[in-house]
Amino acid sequence: MTGTNVDLTTRLAGLRLDNPIVTASGCFASGREMQRFVDVGRIGAVVVKSLTAAPREGLPTPRMVETPSGMLNAIGLQNPGVDAWLANDLPWLVERGATVVVSVAGDSVDDFAHVARRLRGVEGVAAIEVNLSCPNVEHRGLVFALDPQASAELVRAVARASDVPVIAKLTADASDVVAIARAVVDAGADGLTLINTVLGMAIDPVSGVAELANTYGGLSGPAIRPIAVRVVHQVHQALPDVPIIGCGGVRTVEDVVQFLRAGARAVAVGTGGFVDPFATETLREGLAAWMAEHGHTAVSDLVGTATVRDAG
């Protein structure tokens, strides 16, 4: 294999990952489903589907509609609840040597903090990712991540409740993502995941009915990649020391490199893994080969190397 002399390790919010390819929350379920395709122990980190305090059955169907180079989803955080997950899923991941990042979600600051407390002291939880793209039911139903103060308050509560690094996952739907990023970092976030899905909608032209049962849903896939790369670049320029997991539309090795150069230290694959179930492997091996071919010896040498054209 080419690329064996390449150092793929990356450091992220106190973690050391074997390679920078991680899974995007909600796109790899609990990991177990994918054992037929990939060795979860060899993935940079498995970011699991967002967990809430109580189990959730999620939204009615249709939950998905395809769009040009993308898809909309409105799943509604279907998950077994943190307790069932701790009992049934975490041990399986730990046994296989996976680096586990737990995404936490909820409707209120207390919800999130509850999940974070349940994860305290649990062996095998490497970090917490705070899914800030949930509507804050106590605050006009507005999504946490659209408001710097609500975001900061939430991250502060999770960071207090937690004994592992806390990574805040933001959305590009905010007018000023850099301001939100600053606010959550000041509130104790050790890293950022950029970006979650972008709010969208599709309508069946013939019937006029919204395609998703939930009316609105999150846009993912290659369509949003330019938005995600922009956000990673903006935030990395403003906060160069804050570790970033880049996420949004990753399909190819070149996409991974774009995110690394924009400033991400790890890159999450979501929708891309639906199309290629071997994506985490294909990309890990492909990245090593690409780096060898282009004379790069370490992932860390690529991070944040994007340059801007001379505006001559």
Partner: protein, 300 residues
């Protein structure tokens, strides 16, 4: 020829780039035969493949039922067949695929129809392209010593799917069309009472549009017979990781839970699926009115 791109488990799904070695249009359907020996050896009726389509702007694979799998013997290559019906752009593209072209497929995925442990009488009910997996199931059941009664329905004569092999193997074959252009004028459920009236049916298997599955499940359940149906729900991954394809199912503990039809299905217990919650109350109610004693109208 086929090119296997990755696998982990000995018996798990594969990603294969397989050559289309035959293409047979019939009515609105096109049957595609892929040369894919490794894949063929793993397939069972009720399972599906996720097929990449080469349409600009299209991202996701298309789930298609396995319509047949022939394990190559003595020099002949193993093949897997798909039957594509007309739907949107993806199926239109698949319908235009030519012999010699390559298709990128992932599979086999999902749970197959459970095969009875002891000799059983099986009623198989297929609608539209859903008949294909039941033809395949017939080819699996009969050599194992099971009796197969087959009901195949469609909207019109043109859209009835035929299989010489299944016709030869099945103990009986009934066809229905909505417009009466061939076979019994009516729905597949109208052909069920005559078979059920014999009193020997051990299990019903069905594949077709969800409304048909709701009706077949209702009729079978009223007759007190277990029923297994292969469901269709929109799928983003087909792998069990995205939770888009869920179906409300009443579990053994009597709780209704959202089950992933790609990994907990597509074959599910028709008696447990919550058809009304799927918006199919109409089909259920119509099936509740089907006269189970109407055996007299039978003419197989």
């Amino acid at each position: 020829m086929s090119d296997v791109m990755g696998r982990v488990e000995e018996d798990g799904p594969l990603r294969v780039v397989a050559e289309v070695v035959a293409r047979r249009p019939s009515g609105p359907y096109v049957t595609l035969v892929l040369a894919a020996p490794e894949l063929a050896a793993r397939c069972r009726p009720g399972q599906f493949l996720e097929v990449a389509v080469d349409v600009p702007g299209t991202l996701l694979r298309r789930p298609l039922s396995i319509a047949r799998a022939e394990v190559g013997e003595a020099g002949s290559l193993g093949t897997v067949s798909l039957v594509v019906g007309p739907e949107g752009e993806g199926s239109a593209w698949l319908g235009r695929v030519r012999t010699g072209q390559q298709l990128d497929v992932v599979g086999p995925l999902g749970r197959a129809f459970p095969i009875p442990q002891r000799p059983a009488t099986c009623l198989l009910v297929g609608g539209g392209y859903g008949a294909a997996p039941l033809h395949y199931l017939t080819e699996v059941l009969v050599p194992l010593g099971h009796r197969v009664d087959l009901i195949v329905g469609a909207a019109t004569e043109d859209t009835l799917l035929h299989s010489i092999e299944a016709k030869r193997l099945a103990h009986s074959l009934r066809t229905t069309t909505d417009d009466g252009s061939a076979g019994l004028h009516g729905r597949v459920t109208d052909a069920m009472p005559a078979v059920l009236a014999r009193g020997d049916v051990d299990v019903v298997y069905a594949c077709g549009p969800n409304a048909m599955l709701a009706a077949v499940s209702t009729v079978a359940t009223r007759a007190g017979i277990p029923v297994r149906v292969a469901l269709e729900e929109r799928m983003a991954c087909g792998l069990g990781v995205c939770f888009t394809c869920v179906i409300p199912v009443r579990d053994r503990d009597d709780e209704v839970r959202m089950r992933r039809s790609c990994i907990d299905g597509p074959v599910m217990d028709g008696a447990r699926v919550q058809w009304r919650a799927l918006g199919l109350a109409g089909a259920v109610e119509a099936a509740e009115r089907v006269d189970l004693a109407a055996a007299g109208t039978d003419a197989p």
